[in-house]
Amino acid sequence: MYEKHILICAGTGCISSGALDVEEALIEELKKHNLQDKVRIIMSGCHGFCEKGPLFIVYPEDIFYCEVTAEDMPELVEEYLVKGNIVERLLYKDPTTDKRVISHEEIPFYSKQMRLVLRNCGVIDPENIDEYIIRGGYSGMKKALEMEPIEVVNAVKSSGLRGRGGAGFPTGMKWEFAYRSQNDKKYMVCNADEGDPGAFMDRSVLEGDPHAVLEGLVIGGRAIGSDEAYIYVRAEYPLAIKRLRTAIAQAEEYGLLGKNIFNSGIDFKINIKEGAGAFVCGEETALLASIEGERGLPRPRPPFPAVKGLWGKPTCINNVETLANVPLILRKGADWYSSIGTEGSKGTKIFALTGKINNTGLCEVPMGISLREIVYDIGGGIRNGKKYKAVQIGGPSGGCIPEELLDLPIDFDSLTAKGAMMGSGGMVVMDEETCMVDLARYFLSFTQNESCGKCTPCREGTKRMLEILLRITQGKGEPEDIPRLEKLAVSVKDSSLCGLGQTAPNPVLTTLRYFRDEYEAHIFDRRCPAGQCKDLLTYYIDAELCIGCRACIKACPAEAITGEKKEPHVIDEAKCISCGACFDKCKKDAVKTK
């Protein structure tokens, strides 16, 4: 009998901060104290709080240790497991109250969340199918196999589930299209390409609860009448691929995949296809081309994949998070599901919270929660007491949401109405020190680089937008640049072939909409209000702070700084090339910008 269970997070984040070393050291220490039969170690999936990793949770007491290292193991085992004294210094410290908390439920990062899709992540051993089954796994699939296909379609339709891959298309409706397409062969495809920089919810689900996705695929297969699926997962996710392979093998062994599942006479096969690393391969038609062995380029729609998809057969493509919602809907009922969220957006959404915020990581919240709650309650507010400026939602295809919209309910339609979009759920928080022109330039540089080049507006237009933005941040903006950008952004959005080009201008359009004054300051006053654009800064030395150490004089490549030893130094504005070398070098923070 085990007396204690220890969950060590083995998501990619925690593994890279040393979770496997922690495991090794723990095994060693347990042996030393002869506790190996009393304490069970479970290497779990991601808990979402990667910033504080490796995470180390002891059950049944629910004690949440964070940022543990292998070196902490002797103390933890000796003090806690042997003597029963909580190791205070390894507990989580709430940045707002500075208090240490014991249970993860007391941590605001978790308490406002509603973890439905992430219900198993960090709780079960993802490499053990029994743990998934014990928590109700595969019972939704069993139900679906006993239902008529159209009943399954209707259940998902009435749940109100909308796709989590970006566009928010109603999943039940998509399934119905594929269901109504007549063909001897149909395919289900799981889009696990997760290309948005900063988003990692799909990876966490695949790593932490792979069976949920498999179960979702079989249910989808039952609904549309397909017996084969592909999971298109990016090759940069080796752990997710490994866990998926393990999960598929275990499910096949249990008869939950393969021939004649549950004696229902229904077969279902799941294949894995590793993606080759282009953002555009996440776009559904490019993804299909890539599975077929072609270059991953988008194709015009219609025909939609539901009519003519993989190898010309009707195909239903769903995102990982979408599919992971499906087993719950079948198990708990469409009514239960549709009671969560808002009128047009049901259920929960996982966000990848990052940027200038105290708590970063993955959080799952009910649709309709306000941005303020995410930023200030779950995120713990802005770092270092700085002022909130905006949140970029939806990755490079999304847009920014300014302070006056902090109470905006987060759902598909409200975000779109404000020029942003749900996208895959990336959420980058910016403070007063972020330059919004530079932000737009940053996201444009991503989309420009990822444009496949097939269609003219995106190939040529993203390049020109990027050039204009770059010019503005370098202080070379022209007065016509703002109308030029606007005109170009609208055309690229309106006439590009695929979603990449159609959304790439969003960061430009929203920053122009909410922060036009910053563009104007750059162009007309040659000034960057956030003090970020190097070429627009004037450097000076604060005589009060300068100790006359000559460090800046040595660093300056333009010989623009003069001054005697131990006397305050001075920068000659005429000679200064604004490279910032002195700023970086000064240990006393005496070099300032204006």
């Binding site: 507006p457 016509e480 006439s495």
Partner: protein, 345 residues
């Protein structure tokens, strides 16, 4: 049949028709670069975008199927803005040396810029800067003028089957090139020249016509290629009395615009000073021009001197099947089965 409204006019078309085809039926012109009804539809150039009521974005008319009750605008303000911007972007990344460009007068980029009044781009930034591929005897590839419509690529893959050119790189760095970015000379290209005819701009230029005439000065003469018995239709470009170019005749039932290297590029013999125009008879070791009567008399005399299998006949691939048939008949009637054909050599 499906009925829809385009620019306020209603039209009925087959359910498989595209918006572009429906517009053609009404005589409404929609500009295109990447469209060719013989090839896969790619919807890439976005010149043919139109406004479809209730659709979120503009739709490419070349590959959007019609729907019953659809309401389409092909020249709305929004459509024109998008097309102008498209041209604006294309010429920002284009040499615009129309003064000496061989394509002037037959260039769709030039025509549409004229139509929409675009003379200069709003954008100035990076431009393509590729070396010309001038390594083969037939045509020059200037990828700085390429607008990446992909017509040449699809023609090469889908019609010729040679698969010599493809897209390389992505985004702004996309380029049409042969394997390993080698000159075309080292590729599987068979120099049929069909890509040259497909190109809507001056990126692919036949060498023989350079400086020999503007499109509006040239008379187009339909003919049948003399090189082999297939009978491909050709259109010759003639200035004065000189042939300066050729291309496949799309109206020819035998070839529908397709050609091989000989028909497309091999017409220089027409004006060659070495071209044989009358029979030559070797007299005292020298070839001397003679009349047809004299030559035929000589041949008849020689036929009588040789017997049966001593005689052999070599026919030409450049005459028709019927003529070759008659030729072997003739040889057999003279008692010889020794007949062959230059295409087998």
């Amino acid at each position: 049949m499906v009925s829809l409204t385009i620019n306020g006019q209603s039209v009925e078309v087959e359910p498989e028709a595209t918006i572009l085809q429906a517009a053609e039926k009404l005589g409404i012109f929609i500009p295109t670069f990447c469209y060719d009804p013989e090839l896969t539809l790619v919807g890439a150039c976005r010149m043919c975008v139109v406004e479809v009521e209730k659709a979120r974005a503009l739709m490419a008319s070349c590959c959007t199927p019609v729907m019953d009750g659809m309401v389409v605008h092909t020249e709305s303000e929004r459509v024109i803005a998008a097309r102008k911007e498209n041209l604006n972007l294309l010429i920002a990344n284009h040499p615009l040396d129309c003064l000496t460009c061989e394509k002037t007068g037959a260039c769709r980029l030039q025509d549409y810029c004229y139509q929409y009044g675009i003379s200069e781009s709003d954008y100035h930034g990076d431009k393509k800067d590729y070396e010309l591929d001038d390594t083969n005897p037939f045509f020059i590839r200037n990828m700085n003028k390429c607008i990446l419509c992909g017509l040449c690529v699809r023609t090469c893959h889908e019609i010729n089957g040679a698969g010599a050119v493809e897209f390389m790189n992505r985004g702004f760095d996309s380029k049409v090139t042969a394997a390993f970015d080698d000159p075309l000379e080292n590729s599987s290209c068979v120099f049929c020249g069909m890509c040259v005819d497909a190109c809507p701009v001056g990126a692919l230029t036949p060498k023989h016509g350079i400086g020999k005439g503007r499109p509006w000065e040239l008379k187009r003469v339909k003919t049948v290629c003399p090189y082999c018995g297939t009978g491909c239709g050709l259109e010759l470009y003639v200035k004065g009395n000189t042939v300066v170019g050729a291309k496949g005749d799309v109206t020819s039932p035998a070839s529908r615009g397709q050609t091989c290297v000989k028909g497309r590029f091999g017409f220089d013999f027409l004006q060659s000073p070495e071209r044989l125009k009358s029979p030559l008879i070797r007299k005292n070791g020298e070839l001397v021009e003679s009349s047809w009567d004299e030559a035929l008399d000589l041949i008849a005399k020689k036929f009588k001197e040789v017997k049966g299998t001593e005689l052999a006949g070599l026919a030409s691939a450049r005459v028709t099947n019927e003529e070759n048939y008659l030729f072997q008949k003739l040889l057999r009637s003279l008692g010889s089965n020794n007949v062959d054909h230059c295409a087998r050599l």
